[in-house]
Structure formats: structure tokens, C-alpha cells
Amino acid sequence: MTRSFKIAFKIAIILIAALAAVLIASIILWMIGADVGATFYTICIVPLTNSLHLTEVLIRAIPLCIIALGITVAYRSGIINIGAEGQMAMGILAFTGVALAFPSVPRPLLLPLALIAAVIGGGIWGFIPGILKAKLNVSELLSTVMLNYIAAQFYSLCLRTIYLDPAEQGLGAAGTPQSMRLTDNVWIGRISGRLHYGLIIALVLAFLIFFLMWKTTIGFRMRAAGAEARAARYGGINVAFYVALAMVISGAFSGLAGGIEIAGVHRRAIEGVTNNYGFSGVVVALFGGLHPFGIVPASFFFGLLIYGATLAPSRVGVPANIVQVMQGVIIIVIVTAQMVLSNTYFQDRLWRRISHRMKKEA
């Protein structure tokens, strides 16, 4: 079996998933009596038509990419992180906390400091399920979901109390729960329009993760722990440690994504910043084949879908939730297709048939 055959095989799985998502979404669109063609045109094509839309797509792709990279590290290490939503919220809180506490520190010092705080905030929120899984065998699926809800409540508690903008304080209950506008010492510069340099950071992080996971010993051990825990343990790898480490890295990436989102786009902590990116990140990671170089295009594609869906209600009268439906279908179909198609017997038979035909033609 050649390498290109294997890659083509993986791409085929992803295309099948995309097709299934389109099919099921079409059925639901038909049920609510929407114009199916116009809806897909609005979601997938309209955002590409002018630079203003394209900027918005890229802005959404940045956090998706960073979160998906973190989720990949965890997934490859045998632990599924669906707590990115909460980790992102904690990253934002830590970032905002530092920015509010030291508004006068110069930018070259304050921005890195605040981003590190975001990394630590997210990392701690990833460490909790990681250590619970490693030491007490608590299902990470349940603990991360619960931590999402806890983080969401903690987030709005902070916005309503200690982070609350003094200008909103006077308004009492009518005020918006948000922090005051952060000092420009923590802003990330903008390339054009609303597009910020977080884009570069995301691309650099993709290379970094590729290097970490496939070119270092730590990465090898994490992948070994994920591929077959018992064999890894027999090979002298401290599986519990690497599982917890993978979860910390995963959380740290989500936290960083939150920090960058605040520094680049909103420039203040406000409700709704996490925007379901945590769950979408899981889909992006799977859709990108759990590989950094697949995740970069995948995050662009999902940035497109998520932004396109925000256009759908006003243009074609379709609720934005349709994207969540497609994401759910994509997850199910990808994992199913992987299971069915990665059957080695099946793969082998297909390969023999193809190579046989190629020989005949030659």
C-alpha cells in the first residue's frame, strides 16, 4: 500500500462525512420549508464573495484552529477533551484579570504576561479532568462537561461582580455584564479590518504541535499512551502522567485561544465570547484528520460554516442552529466511516483491486 493511497483513503472518509452532513441538513431544511439550494449558497459561498465577509470567516477560524490543535493532542493521547468551552472561558478570565490588574505595564511585557495567564487558566481547567482521569479513573467525558457548566457560571459571576465595568455598575441590574474596555497594552494588532495577528499565532502553533507530536520523545510517548495504553506501560511509559500532560496542553491551548480572541477581537470580557467554539473544535479536529496540517484548512471550512450560518436567519430565514446539526452528523459519520473503512481487510482488498487494475492498464 502506498502512502498516497492511504491519504486518499482518509480524504474519502472526510468527503463521505461532508456529504452525509449536507444530505441530513437538506432533509431538515426541507422539513422547515426552506430553500435548500439558497441556504447552502448563503452558508458556503456568500462569505467568500467579499473581503469583509472573508475577514469574519478568518476571525472565527483562529480560535477554532487553536482549540482543535489542543483537542488533537488530547485525542491522540487517548483522552477526549470536550471541555474546551470551559477552558476557554477560564483563559479569558485569567487574561482579563491580568489586563485589569496592571493596566500601566508596557505592552511588550503585559501582552505576553496576559497570554501566559490565559494559558495557565486554561491549563488548570484541563488539569482537573486530566488528573481525575489518571488517578481516579473518572470519565473525562463527564468531568469536562460538568467543568464547562461550572466555568460558564463562574464566568458570568466574575463579569457581574469583580470584573464589572464601573460605567455599567451605576446602571444596576439594567447594565450589561461585561468588563471595561481593556488597556491597549494588551491588544493584538490588526492586519486589516478586524483581522488580527492571531492568525499568524495559530499557524505557528500548528507547526509547533506537528513538531511536538511527531518529532519529539514526549509526543511519541503521548501518542503511544493513546494508541495502546497497556503496550505503552509495558514499554516503560508512565501512561497516567502523559495522559494528564496531554490534557493540560489541551486546556492550555483552549485558554490561549480565549486570550487571543479577547486581545484581538473583543478587547473586553463579555458574555457569549466562547460561542460554542469548544464543541466546534472537536468537529474541526476530527474533520482535520487529527493532524495539524489537516486542521488548518478544516478550521477555515468551519469558520465559513459558522459565519455563514449567522447570515442564514436574515437572508433565507433558516435558524443558525442548522450548523450544530451538521456538526453532529459530521462527527457521527466520520467516526463510523473510520471504523468501517479502516478495517484492514477491506482496505487491503480495495488496494489490491486498484493496483491490479492499474497494472492491467499499464
Binding site: I32, L132, N137, Y149, Q153, V323, Q324
Partner: protein
């Protein structure tokens, strides 16, 4: 003080029904060896369809009780269908159950939200189902409020607990379910159809999750919204661990968690200056703490939980 306590306790039974039904359903799934994390999505779909039928019939006004019954029935059928679908994915195609469950959850919540916005839109309420004051018994002070003045579905749900216990431990089908969840290979060699039994358990579990969702929208909230379920499906899954895969212990867990939740409504209504968010957090924190204490010693867990069964594979 007694008034507050009575108030909190009297909310316990009606508010715990959704958790209870979903948990019992999930218990059947897990006893058969399938970890269904999509419970949340099934509940959302059940809640939506359960609310839609009485709403469409009466336009938000009063409707015949039979439309509520029809709503529950539709939710159960839809839940069973989603369970069947999850079975195709995890039993026939042997997809990893955890991540497939997340997919089902997103699909269910997303679809319910999409359809809701089109067919209902906005916050619309329905009359729901009335509480039944059981004659004489409901007039006992304290006990009457706590136990004997709830809606009919709540009573039925609690009557279902011993039934679930009987099905699981005393019927041939229950034995099959436990066998395929514990040692599918042995069950297979005894002539039990492992896939079929797992499918049946998933459909039963799905139907119960659908009913749980419909209870939330028809009887409890009397409306539907995107945040109606808000993690109850996941808590239901956690409760199964907490209850050691046993109906009676699951009931205890459901009551405990509901008590923690009533705390939040109580604080709201009394206007104490305790941060409201901390009260909302409480049940979720409790889940993590409880899981930490119960996950390590998993001697009671079905040994094949989460493992797809393949007849043709040597293990």
C-alpha cells in the same frame, strides 16, 4: 424554616422525574454495555416534540389532556428511533461510543433548536398537566405537600422504578441485558443474540430519555427553550455511575441532585445575597466530587461497558 424545607422537599419529587427517567434509561443502555452520551440530545428532541403537539393542537391555549398524552407518546417513539440510530452507529458499525455520543448530542440539540424556531418560535407556553391532590393523603401536613400533591406522570415515573428493577433482575430479557453487558462472548455462545439485545436496550433507553425530555417541557417548564435541558442528560449519565447501575440507588441519586438544584430556586425566591451563580454551580460540582469517589472502585460496573462486540474477532 420548616416552610422553606417543606417548599424545597416538595419540589424534589416533581423536579427529579426527568433526571430519574433519563438515568434509568441510560442504566439499561450501560447494563447492555453501550455508553450513550447522546442522552442530552435525545432529551432535547423529546422535549421539543412533546411540547410541539399540545402547542400545535391548542395554539398555546387549553387543550384536551389527550394531546399531552400524545406528546409523551411521540417523544417516546422519537427517542426509541434515535436509540435505534445510535445502535446502528455503535453496534453494527462499532464506532467509538464516547465520541459518537457527543455527535448525537449535538445533532439532537441542534435539530430540536432548528425545528423549534421554525414551528414555534419565541417563548410560547403550554398549559401543561395539572397536579393531582390525592384525597385525604395530601391533607397530611408536611408529608402531604412533599409526597402526595404532584402530577400524574411523576407518580407513574416513581412507580416505574420497581418495574425497572423487576425487568432488569427478574425477567429473562433483563438477564440477557446483563449478560451482554458483562460478557458478550459467553452470552453469544449461550445462543443470546448480542446485537439484538443491545439494540433493544438502546431503544428502551432512548424511549425513556425521550419521555424525560417531554416531562421537562410538558409538565415541568411548560415551554421549550434551547437551554431547557442544560446538562441534565449528562448528569443523568453521571447518576448511573453514582447509582452503581441499580434502579433504587439511581433514584436516591436523582433525589439528592434535585435537592441541590432546588437550593438555587430557593435562593432566588428568598432574595438572599448569596451569589446566584454559585448555587447553579452546586449540582455540577457535586457530580464531579461524586464521580471522583465512585469511579475508582468499579467492581459493580458492567465489564464490557463501552466495548463493541465483534463475533469474528479473537479477544
Amino acid at each position: 424554616m420548616l416552610a422553606i424545607l417543606t417548599n424545597m422537599l416538595s419540589m424534589c419529587i416533581p423536579f427529579s422525574v426527568a433526571l430519574l427517567l433519563a438515568s434509568i434509561g441510560e442504566m439499561f443502555n450501560q447494563r447492555a454495555g453501550v455508553f450513550n452520551l447522546g442522552c442530552e440530545g435525545v432529551m432535547a428532541m423529546g422535549a421539543f416534540i412533546g411540547m410541539l403537539i399540545p402547542f400545535a393542537a391548542g395554539g398555546g391555549g387549553a387543550v384536551s389532556e389527550w394531546y399531552n398524552v400524545l406528546g409523551f407518546a411521540a417523544a417516546a417513539v422519537l427517542g426509541a428511533l434515535l436509540g435505534l440510530f445510535f445502535g446502528v452507529v455503535t453496534i453494527t458499525f462499532r464506532a467509538p461510543q464516547g465520541i459518537a455520543g457527543i455527535g448525537l448530542q449535538m445533532f439532537g440539540v441542534g435539530t430540536a433548536g432548528t425545528l423549534f424556531r421554525h414551528f414555534v418560535g419565541g417563548t410560547q407556553s403550554i398549559p401543561g398537566i395539572p397536579d393531582i391532590e390525592i384525597p385525604l393523603l395530601s391533607r397530611i401536613p408536611f408529608l402531604g405537600d412533599v409526597f402526595f400533591s404532584h402530577n400524574a406522570v411523576a407518580y407513574l415515573a416513581y412507580l416505574f422504578i420497581p418495574v425497572a428493577w423487576y425487568i432488569l433482575f427478574k425477567t429473562p430479557w433483563g438477564l440477557k441485558v446483563r449478560a451482554v453487558g458483562t460478557n458478550p462472548r459467553a452470552a453469544d455462545s449461550m445462543g443470546i443474540n448480542v446485537s439484538r439485545t443491545r439494540y433493544e436496550a438502546l431503544m428502551l433507553g432512548g424511549a425513556l430519555a425521550g419521555l424525560a425530555g417531554a416531562y421537562l417541557s410538558i409538565a415541568q417548564a411548560k415551554m421549550f427553550s434551547d437551554t431547557l435541558i442544560s446538562g441534565r442528560g449528562f448528569i443523568a449519565v453521571a447518576l448511573v455511575y453514582f447509582g452503581h447501575w441499580h434502579p433504587l440507588q439511581i433514584m436516591g441519586g436523582a433525589l439528592l441532585f434535585t435537592f441541590a438544584q432546588t437550593f438555587q430556586t430557593q435562593i432566588q425566591s428568598m432574595g438572599i445575597s448569596f451569589p446566584y451563580e454559585l448555587a447553579v454551580m452546586l449540582p455540577y460540582v457535586l457530580v464531579i466530587v461524586v464521580l471522583s469517589f465512585t469511579s475508582r472502585n468499579q467492581t459493580t460496573a458492567p465489564t464490557s461497558l463501552g466495548k463493541p462486540f465483534n463475533r469474528e474477532m479473537r479477544t
